[in-house]
């Protein structure tokens, strides 16, 4: 039996160099677009669910509650599997990328719905009254008065949702989307240098998220321009 030794770490520089671009490319053409598209659809869905939750109609509230509960109560990996491997049994076939967009959007829709609902509720009741007294209807008050103020409150939690989403796109590798992580996996199949290649993948994810957190800070300070800073 060979003794366990912590071997000398030798980095295969040529491999690191040659693999970097294909992995990064997977990130640029799949990971980032997947995250952005899913976030946009997801936010629209979340907004719809938040409005349903806030409506006075019991059935609407019920629909939103059940939806949010299902999304939050089941693993994303399982949701992806159902959509990509399960739906074909019903005759519904989607491409890997589209399947990933659907699953990730639905996921964001479930999580961000509660964030958006809470941020809408955080706007003082007097703002609604002020809107109504100048003659606005519900939709006008919501769009022009409440949502801009709710947006400020929801930027930090929604940014966290987006950063989580960027990392969650790696699960799309399980349904054959050749995104960042899957590119790294593919290269390990021939080189077997797991530590190097997966570390490279991790590093690129980190860079993406680091850039996003900088953008988040910018957006927050922009939205803060109308509140007193102490």
């Amino acid at each position: 039996m060979a003794p366990f030794v912590l071997g000398e770490i030798t980095i295969d520089w040529p491999l690191a160099f040659h693999s970097f671009w294909p992995i990064l490319q997977g990130g640029l053409i799949y990971t980032i677009p997947l995250a952005i598209i899913s976030f946009i659809f997801g936010l629209a869905l979340a907004m719809l669910m938040a409005l349903l939750r806030l409506s006075r109609v019991q059935v609407a509230q019920g629909i939103a509650r059940v939806y949010i509960s299902i999304i939050r109560g089941t693993p994303l990996l399982v949701q992806l599997a159902i959509i990509f491997y399960g739906l074909p049994d019903l005759g519904i076939e989607v491409s890997p990328f589209a399947g990933a967009v659907v699953a990730l959007s639905m996921n964001v829709g479930g999580y961000a719905a509660e964030t958006i609902r809470a941020s809408i509720l955080s706007v003082p009741k007097g703002q609604w009254e002020a809107g109504y007294t100048i003659g606005m209807n519900y939709a006008q008050v919501m769009r022009r008065i409440i949502l801009p103020q709710a947006a400020r409150v929801s930027v930090p939690p929604l940014s966290n949702t987006f950063i989580s989403l960027v990392k969650d796109t790696s699960l799309a590798s399980t349904i054959t989307v050749t995104e960042l992580f899957r590119r790294a996996q593919e290269i390990t199949a021939t080189s077997y240098d797991f530590l190097l290649l997966y570390s490279e993948a991790a590093f690129i994810y980190w860079v993406f998220c680091f850039i996003l957190s900088i953008i988040q800070g910018r957006i927050e300070s922009r939205l803060d321009r109308y509140v007193a800073t102490h």
Partner: protein, 248 residues
């Protein structure tokens, strides 16, 4: 008669706040509502703008009529609400909009007045309330008294038939009160019809054509400022007035 409210009833859960209130006001007149806290005076005022929905009674403003015992249509609500505009105790300015944007919001978005014209009119009103230099500031950059004057400008810009004031100076530091009262006095002089809930008795004495004393959900006494302040008929009115006067 510009304003006529009849037999207004309003409850919150088990507690009956308004127990059949009648109110009338002619055009160009100023009505001041006084009364102890919890008496229902604010609820009464808010009912005139449908920020509270009474269960019973009728309301007519400038010929628009609603019957609260029936379910109001959106059009009825919109029509009667557009006859009045409210100035809130805590101003409720839109914090994400500048002073000017606050004032033009209603005219542009609701009344569909061309933006250029709305801006011209808004600047004129801001000039009247002494805040033209602050038009591009955000509300948080203003003092409480300035914020409240923007609140008044926002209501005036809608050109409603009726201006409603819900304790407009109660949340202000004492030294800021007089600027706000001065603006309100100007409006009264210019012929605006106003309903004001306030504890400022001296102000009421000067501008009110009529004063009502609301107590336990009913109007227990009404009259001219002289009648009510100098010769109150009821013991409760006397006690209330002396408490207020001691405080100030």
């Amino acid at each position: 008669m510009l304003l006529q409210a009849m037999d207004i009833h309003k409850s919150f859960g088990e507690s009956r706040i308004l127990k059949g209130v009648d109110l009338t006001l002619d055009e160009g007149k100023v009505l001041v509502i006084i009364g102890p806290s919890g008496s229902g005076k604010t609820t009464l005022l808010r009912s005139l703008n449908l920020l509270e929905l009474p269960e019973q009674g009728t309301l007519e403003i400038n010929g628009k009529h609603v019957d609260f015992s029936k379910r109001l249509s959106k059009k009825e609500t919109r029509d009667i609400r557009s006859q009045s505009a409210m100035v809130f105790q805590s101003h409720n300015l839109f914090p994400h909009k500048t002073v000017l944007e606050n004032v033009i919001e209603g005219p542009v978005i609701v009344q569909k007045i061309p933006k250029d014209r709305a801006i011209d009119e808004a600047r004129e009103i801001l000039d009247q309330v002494g805040l033209i230099d602050y038009q591009n500031q955000y509300p948080f950059q203003l003092s409480g008294g300035q914020q409240q004057r923007v609140g008044i400008a926002r209501a005036v810009a809608l050109k409603p038939k009726l201006l409603l004031f819900d304790e407009p100076t109660s949340a202000l530091d004492p030294e800021l009160v007089s600027d706000v009262l001065k603006v309100m006095k100007d409006l009264a002089t210019k012929g605006w019809t106003m309903v004001i809930v306030t504890h400022e008795l001296k102000f009421a004495q000067e501008v009110a054509d009529k004063v009502i004393f609301v107590d336990q959900g009913v109007i227990s006494e009404e009259g001219t400022p002289d009648q009510l302040f100098q010769h109150p008929q009821h013991e409760r009115t006397r006690r209330f007035l002396s408490r207020i006067l001691q405080r100030t």
